[in-house]
Symmetry: D2
Subunit: 349 residues, 4 copies
């Protein structure tokens, strides 16, 4: 921490700040410049609160010089993390696409969706069984029945499964059915859930909160990593801004920034990021062009009758076309999207 004293701060004020820093367990280095003193503070115990120093007389500014996250920092693993689910590698050269319906609704619905997304080249099937809804009066998901259908449909197509966990009490259940446990945007700072998932043996897909700074997002990843779970995938899904034409504003620039700050893979969710079917493809292309390690996209064989999020779900034919476009774009940045999906054997969950 650096404490920049205001111009004209008195010697007594500098003394007081230094004493307070020492009481917080810091080693203090003093540097006197032209009309201004700067105190460098190294160390600090648990009670150290920079905000308190800011309020002292004569203090101009307090500058934190360490990122508050450590395990999530790029410096911790400069080569980057690859999260493996069977032979699917998220964070490697291939851009991985997860796709499927918003909610699992019925056997036929999820099987049709699984077949469609597999055919187009997706590697992972998405589908919600527990839905967090803003209104208490909306469809809340099929629960465990939904998970069973999702797993079955995925196995039939040799796809992995990602599904959302909305509560600590569901972690064990979800772990039985899904290969990746998704934390929704509204739960990004549900610290009880993060702590529990830190102990889980499954990779976690951590969505960014709609008003979360990049630092807060990486701190939530830190909860997972510090809890012992090394397999964290970040997912940008739109932030809230003054513009209300789309439900959210997708922050495409978060992709290259996070790749620099952190070693964790980052994917994009253009379905929630825009909320409108006709904007999903352009934003999916943009995310890949900006360097995303993957995408998660809502696809439904009959979106007009979907029980949730139909308006942002692609028809299978739209998804096919998008995948073809992405195969052209990926090589521009040295990435690929598996050209011909092959049925794989020996799938290991």
């Amino acid at each position: 921490m650096l404490v920049v004293m205001a111009e004209g701060a008195t010697g007594a004020q500098v003394e007081q700040v230094a004493e307070r820093l020492i009481a917080m367990g810091f080693d203090v280095h003093r540097s006197t410049g032209a009309g201004r003193v700067i105190l460098g503070a190294v160390g600090g115990n648990e009670q150290a609160q920079p905000a308190l120093i800011e309020l002292l007389e004569g203090v101009g500014e307090v500058v934190r010089i360490t990122e508050p996250y450590k395990l999530a920092s790029r410096r911790f693993r400069p080569e980057g993390t690859v999260v493996s689910i069977g032979d699917v590698r998220i964070g490697g050269d291939e851009v991985i696409v997860m796709a499927g319906p918003c909610s699992v609704e019925s056997e036929s619905q999820v099987r049709a969706a699984a077949a469609a997304v597999k055919r187009a080249g997706a590697k992972i099937l998405r589908g919600g069984a527990f839905k967090p809804r803003s209104s208490p009066y909306s469809f809340q998901g099929l629960g465990e029945d939904g998970l069973r259908l999702l797993r079955w449909a995925a196995d039939e197509q040799h796809l992995a499964v990602v599904s959302e966990v909305i509560d600590v009490s569901q972690v064990e259940l979800l772990s039985r059915y899904a290969d990746i446990l998704q934390v929704g945007a509204r739960n990004m700072q549900n610290f009880s859930l993060l702590r529990e998932l830190g102990r889980a043996r499954k990779p976690v897909l951590l969505k960014r909160g709609i008003a979360a700074t990049l630092e807060e997002w990486l701190l939530s990843a830190e909860y997972l990593l510090a809890g012992g779970n090394p397999d964290v995938i970040l997912c940008e899904r739109g932030i809230r801004t003054f513009e209300s034409y789309t439900r959210n504003t997708m922050d495409i620039s978060a992709i290259p920034i996070v790749k620099k700050l952190s070693h964790l893979p980052i994917i994009a969710d253009p379905s929630h990021g825009t909320g409108r079917r006709d904007k999903v493809a352009p934003m999916a292309r943009a995310a890949v062009a900006a360097g995303a390690d993957g995408l998660i996209i809502e696809v439904h064989c009959d979106p007009d009758h979907a029980l949730s999020d139909g308006a942002q779900s692609l028809f299978p034919a739209q998804f096919d076309r998008l995948m073809a476009e992405l195969r052209i774009i990926a090589p521009a940045i040295g990435r690929s999207i598996c050209v011909e999906p092959v049925a794989r054997r020996g799938w290991a969950r």
Copy 2:
């Protein structure tokens, strides 16, 4: 729901929209104006999704004409709700002040704070025993020991108690010690928690999420009300904007707006709303001047050594002065702040 067709929409397009609405269970009323058709849709089943209609050919705009919340609406109880805790009435003529330390740290700390805030006129003691922290490395609270100390200190001063519950599993525990269960900003859309609190027998203080619209906030209140808990108090505590000088931007205008939209009492938290001790008093005065039913303020007898949020905690003397200022302001809008706090007997929890 109103569907405003685009200028120049064809008859076939209008037909298609009408059919789709009927399939969603709506009664459809057609109104043909100068070059433009409007369809009024009343009713609708559970599968009705306005966003789907928006994507149809020829549709200009879709307008929802019912608020998605019902029980939280002012229309549901035009006279306004008063939440009573013993003889403290939140939402009545008196502006109720809740105050105390951010975290319970020790017996002496919480007893001193309780005595100080009581003396100045607070009616309710605040204090956290379970702290949701952005970083996994920060102080996380004393847990049940903290609750016990908080209750004891409050009883000694004849104060009621408000404390935060951060997880479904704590609801029962908190209910044993606290008179009001607080839901923090990060949990405003933790729907599992809201559902559990809907079944609780204690009033709930529901903080606004840092990026929550007023509608989302009232929908979260709707979860509580729909669950059977009528005693909900709303709390504005600052929203996230582009301005970074303060931690958050307190949205004072939310106070008069919410009072019009909803019958629920609304209080303000200028401590979290600003994050800086020297801005707490001006914003507390502003909140009361704008019509808040109460305040919740962090007060600490030794904020420089507080284990959390010290920089935004008032010294007791600052709190005394603020209470004196508020007593001048409240009458401007026909409210009062109890001038001389009297020891009350027969306190009923």
Copy 3:
């Protein structure tokens, strides 16, 4: 400027940064801490661009340690600036209220408004003659005729006049009729206009842009001050956030913050800050409670037929009631609002 090198930065990287700083004209002080080097840079010529240093290899963070504004800083005039127009003093103990119609529409309209606001205690008459409108098809104001009517109505009531200047070419014209020249939110960074107004002999009311940071706002004030005009009044009028219930979100916290950062007086515009008549009074009270030096409020004797902004204009009776409320609130913070408006003689423009 401080350059905090990343942990593990090499000696060569530190060297390169130091050389670059020296080339930019800085004196460089080196401070080596536990595993981290910090370079303090003092001075710097005109080509010094901190953003360039940020991109160098091994640099962790660059911290600017001087505010970019000087003349607008509180440090420049710790006692605070009072702007005087005749015997009206803005920034003194009295809270000054400016009021009147959005646009000047006719002689009878502006005379009635002037009489009404004078009676209630306003000291300055507001009214627009040139209206900047988002749409090219909206009413654009009466021009010089409007100014003439405004001046006349004000003189009749012994009021000063504030009116908006939207273009460099109007400065001279406005200066003939108005006592205070208003710069609208959309022109806050119209630097040609600011430069011209720096040379004007009239006080300037500088509104905050809807997305302007406090620093940008004070930098725009700096343009005026650096140009030679010492009489600058700041005006908070709402910022743009994700919340769309009101046209803007009034940033009441800007009032105490700006009063600490700068010596300039600051007033609030609750009419534009909310855009709705029924929210003007609560926000006006809040602004005064938070320490505003004044208010600017739209009042119209027949707002339902106003040519612009009728929905946010108060009826005279509402304005009377608001003034009465403000007279109760102001003393809470050691301020006053002239209790009985007296006709003053010898008014000097």
Copy 4:
């Protein structure tokens, strides 16, 4: 306009609203549904202000059903506008790249930049001669000398010229040297300037304000179009959000949205959109992948010594690589970027 009466609105309230609408010149159509009345209002004179209706007793909501812009609407020219400068067509199949230094600094600087960007495939040279700067103490540009150098360098390379006009008084001057007149983000609502440019005979590049909604942006374009200038190019350059890691947050989703709402071509400015050299290429790729008609990029042969914006300027080699990447991406959406730049003859300005 639709007026949705509140549930339970009385007949008298409905009457009052209808009368008011009629007084504003509307034809009123009444539609009575299940417990709710809706009034459709068509027509309306200049005094019609929907916000006034909103305040009436018994009114639930007021819905505007026409976009306020007409000439800028896609409906006005469904096939899309192509702006031609010589043989460069903006809005056609080719993605047009404008590039060059932030400011013109010297003959050698601008000539070197022009040669570099031409070689890589740019068609238009950018460069500022009048710089709007937040601080009065920053470099403000070379003025007409800069324009002369810019034109000369462009002619030498057979490039067109785009340069910013910051004031009404410069329109004539800029028109002599530049092929496209740029309106900066801070001037997006400088209506005097827009009105003047509506009369100009040169295409206008209209940047989006940092907090402008899409509707406001299109309304500013409407000023230009209504003034008689059909050649308007829109430019997305980042909006202000709570995230402060980059100077702005580029709103890539604005690209496909604007292409649907309007017939005008839209380009992207990833240099200002990010403010950091290392983020320019990913965002440029994303913009093209999302469907942008062009890009405007800052390139400098010695960005470390640029007088402004050096940190966001690409080195020529970086620009070459980016252009190569874009040539791979463009075909994914049926666009091209001229593969081999050829010296053209007969360049017509």
